[in-house]
Amino acid sequence: MRRLLGGVTLVGLLTGLVMGFGIAPRETTQGNVQRIMYLHVPSVWVAYLAFGVVLVASIAYLVRRAESADRLAHASAEVGVLFTGLTIATGSIWGKPTWGTWWTWDARLTSVSILFVMYLGYLLLRGMIDDRERGARFAAVLGIVAAFNIPLVHFSVYWWRTLHQPPSLMKPGPGTMPGIIVAALLVNFAAFTLLYVYFVTRRARLLRLEAEAEG
């Protein structure tokens, strides 16, 4: 099953590359550098998804004390941090040729950095507490509190004046992008979601094996 999921994910990612580089047209204003969008936007989607799952799994852990929920939250937070880091790095690479700077302290970039640091802290907290049950409880509380930052990141481009453009897809109302670009983006969204599921299931299994090895 895991191999099948891995295979489907790989096919999805390759299809996403073909859509992004072969099918989607060159953007008229930015040129080919706009193709970074097919990597940057799905990465931030996976980060939102991952931290949303941390929120739900953390609540489930506090209510039912099920270790599987704790493992899911832990695995999802780790994968979320990975994709948030990728979002920041690819955004910075995209920012240099389009904005003329690698980094600026505008609302979107600052709020996503805070999100990254908060979940990095979440992972560090888990590693610092020896008592597994106590660590899981504290992490669950932090996983719930940190999730309040997700809407702050998403709506920061509306609430403050920023250099970052407003969302092109994850917004109410009709879209402004050509259909082929939307299609390429959606294929990459699906592929990255599969990659998230693949990574999280493998990481959660590893956490179970680690817990069994520790006794």
Partner: protein
């Protein structure tokens, strides 16, 4: 605007390196833990008695 292919390659290259590194970390750690589990399982099995202690037919 120039195409800036170097930036595109940098972004995709970085993502490929990071994702493959994480995948390799998961695979390596999984193998370590599965090997350790197999060894623990073997140690729990009772060792077979020497031939001299076995009842003769």
């Amino acid at each position: 605007m120039p195409d800036n292919w170097g930036f595109v390659l940098a972004a995709y290259g970085l993502a490929a390196v990071v994702l493959v590194a994480y995948w390799r970390f998961l695979s390596r750690r999984e193998k370590e833990l599965e090997d350790a589990t197999a060894i623990r399982h073997d140690l729990r099995q009772p060792s077979p008695k020497p031939a001299s202690e076995r009842p003769s037919p």
